[in-house]
């Protein structure tokens, strides 16, 4: 049972490590919406 567990965990670890290559995030500015710009609010 322990051996199967170790084997399974190895597969899982290899699986996700192969995807988790270091990638920079890059910070983008936020979308533009001014909350007080109501189309009709002041009419």
């Amino acid at each position: 049972m322990k051996k199967i567990g170790k084997f399974l965990s190895m597969i899982l670890v290899i699986g996700f490590l192969s995807i988790s290559i270091f990638t920079p995030l890059q910070i983008d500015p936020p979308p533009l919406k001014n909350i007080l710009e109501h189309s009709i609010i002041d009419q």
Binding site: S9, F16, I40
Partner: protein, 361 residues
């Protein structure tokens, strides 16, 4: 004032309209005073009233206000739903200012990472072009650029930014900074490093006499991307140090703060400084405890460093808390499962698998 109204007694359309007017002025007040505590009953009564009566002009207003309210609260699903309801009524009333509500829906889509949908909605604005003020056109093209950038269509994004800039000559520097920053980010993705650095310098020049420390930090960290590609560790440290010095000046409310911490974690991970990696990932998580991306980064980090103690603590926290959506991402589920198997926690691994099979995760 609304508490005194008996909703069952409203029989005439004029009375219903009067009640909706009261709601409108109350909602406006709440938004202006940042008072966002709102009872479900308050919304339910309003919803019932709006379903019973057909005053579309009022519905346009009230649904937009509800969208704004939920936008401020941070409930993006409700924000999106109410803006959509407002738009439906815009179409019925045939108003010529629907570009504002469409832009709000576009922003809502971007916030929930539905970038294709954001572009589809903003396409609806194009036929309305003659009614749109120039400064607003700039915003719309910028939001389209941001969506294309997130979809990794950098050339299309640059075209949209150029359009935004062409309409933005009357815009103040607040928006221009964002256009330039996004433009430089696209240049990096296209490996046009010289153009990227020039553009970042333009933004820093605008920021020189402003106290926007968060924007300065975001730019420095984006500049680090260029030096990371060149593996220039000296320059990377130089810019990271600039950021660390400015950190205490950044407001806790800043949009950028979470991303600054997360990116600092990423860079320290690249520099193989484990203590600072963990410190900054945790700081990002403090700001946004349910952020799947941050949790995944931290879990990845613990795994790669064989830090089982950290991984266990975080896994237990995920399993015991309301962050179960983190497990919907298979990679995270696999990581926790393999953690249990690796450490011979067979019963826990079985429980986890069973719950997954039952659809609990």
């Amino acid at each position: 004032m609304l508490k005194k109204i008996d909703f069952l007694e409203i029989e005439k359309k004029e009375d219903a309209e009067r009640v909706v007017d009261i709601y409108i002025s109350e909602l406006k007040k709440r938004i202006n005073l940042d008072s966002f505590n709102i009872e479900d009953k308050y919304i339910n009564d309003l919803e019932k009233l709006l379903m019973e009566w057909k005053f579309y002009d009022k519905k346009v207003i009230i649904y937009e206000l509800l969208g704004d309210l939920y936008s401020e609260i941070g409930d993006t699903n409700k924000e999106y739903t109410y803006y959509l309801k407002s738009l439906e009524n815009h179409f019925i009333t045939n108003r010529n200012d629907s570009y504002i509500i469409i832009n709000k829906i576009t922003v809502s889509c971007i916030k929930t990472e539905k970038y294709n949908e954001a572009i589809t909605f903003s396409n609806l604005i194009i036929p309305l072009s003659k009614d749109i003020p120039k400064e607003y056109k700039a915003k719309i093209h910028y939001n389209r650029a941001l969506s294309y950038k997130k979809l990794e269509e950098y050339k299309k994004a640059l075209k949209e930014i150029n359009l935004a800039e062409s309409y933005a000559y009357e815009t103040d520097y607040v928006e221009m900074k964002k256009f330039l920053m996004l433009k430089a980010n696209c240049y990096i993705k296209l490996h046009r490093y010289f153009d990227a650095l020039e553009t970042y310098r333009q933004v820093l020049w605008i920021l020189e006499y402003m106290n926007n420390y968060d924007e300065k930090c975001a730019i420095y960290l984006n500049m680090v991307d260029i030096y990371k590609d060149k593996d220039d560790k000296e320059k990377i440290l130089e810019y990271v140090n600039k950021v660390v010095i400015l950190l205490p000046n950044i407001s806790k409310e800043s949009y950028y703060l979470k991303y600054i911490y997360l990116e600092l974690g990423n860079i320290y991970r690249y520099l193989k400084n484990n203590n600072l990696t963990e410190k900054y990932y945790k700081k990002a998580l403090e700001i946004s405890p349910k952020d799947v991306n941050i949790i995944s980064k931290l879990l990845d980090f613990y795994y790669e460093e064989n830090n089982y103690k950290g991984a266990f603590t975080l896994s237990e926290d995920i399993l015991n808390s309301k962050k179960k959506e983190v497990l919907n991402e298979n990679r995270n589920f696999n990581k926790i499962l393999s953690l249990y198997l690796e450490n011979d926690y067979i019963k826990e691994a079985k429980d986890l698998l069973n719950k997954k099979l039952k659809g609990e995760y």
